[in-house]
Symmetry: C2
Subunit: 153 residues, 2 copies
């Protein structure tokens, strides 16, 4: 049984997950498979790019964050998935050896108008490295079952 | 030398990449690593979820699309990366055996005000399966070097 439902999330809710260590091997492995641009693949080639050295694909950072949120929250929640992403900002490179932390907060929530069993919670997820630099932010509306369908939202 | 620069992209530009076959094994493999929710991991468990059967993690679809765009365009372009993503919509599940096609178009472009050597192009990427269903759309501003820095944009 899920521990967390729609009603458990409203502005003021916060959470923190991690740290998650990121290795050079996995940065290059993910990039080889999904984002084979020089700045994600090779130290030497990366030096002359915007990143100024090897950095993870932004999609890799998204995927690592997703795993942290799944393990930390969603697998214990009555989650029905997300219809999409409202915004992603990649602010700093994620480097080999970084330890990432995810901070979560709730921007807003609303019960579904058409279906009484569910609601939407808009989460802000902020990813930090161990130098306290914000490396990514992501705004995502999550669909969750209500503990009390049709009750006061 | 790059074939494509900032000046080569304006509204009216279109492209298509793919098809890219998606297997059950890679859907489960990606999910195990990054998005271990039942609907992405197990046929039986997925039947009772929103997806009504096994479907790829939305992040997996993003990563597959990224590889198609890198191979089809970005590795031949004077790309400086993307500062983020404006919007992602996951519209239909991506199923084992699907063959994905990516259609690209340009929503707008602007030369950088502060740096004469670059500009931003906002791309719309639409992903279709082989049943002609749109499974995902993504709006992404891409930073590119100008062929003629400081010239007419």
């Amino acid at each position: 049984m899920p521990k967390f439902y729609f009603e458990d999330f409203s502005p003021g809710w916060t959470a923190e997950y991690g740290p998650r260590h990121v290795t050079r091997e996995e940065i290059i492995g993910f990039a080889s498979q999904f984002d084979p641009q020089p700045m994600h693949l090779d130290e030497e080639a990366a030096r002359g790019t915007m990143l100024g050295g090897l950095g993870a694909s932004g999609w890799h950072t998204c995927a690592i964050m997703m795993k942290m949120i799944a393990d930390g929250l969603l697998l214990d929640a009555a989650s029905m998935g997300a219809p999409g992403i409202e915004e992603v900002k990649w602010m700093k490179p994620v480097r080999p050896g970084d330890n990432l932390t995810v901070k979560g907060s709730v921007l807003g929530s609303r019960a579904s108008q058409s279906k009484q069993d569910r609601g939407f919670v808009t989460f802000l997820w902020e990813v930090y490295n161990d130098r306290a630099e914000k490396v990514m932010t992501l705004v995502c509306p999550q669909m969750l079952l209500r503990r009390n369908p049709g009750g006061a939202a």
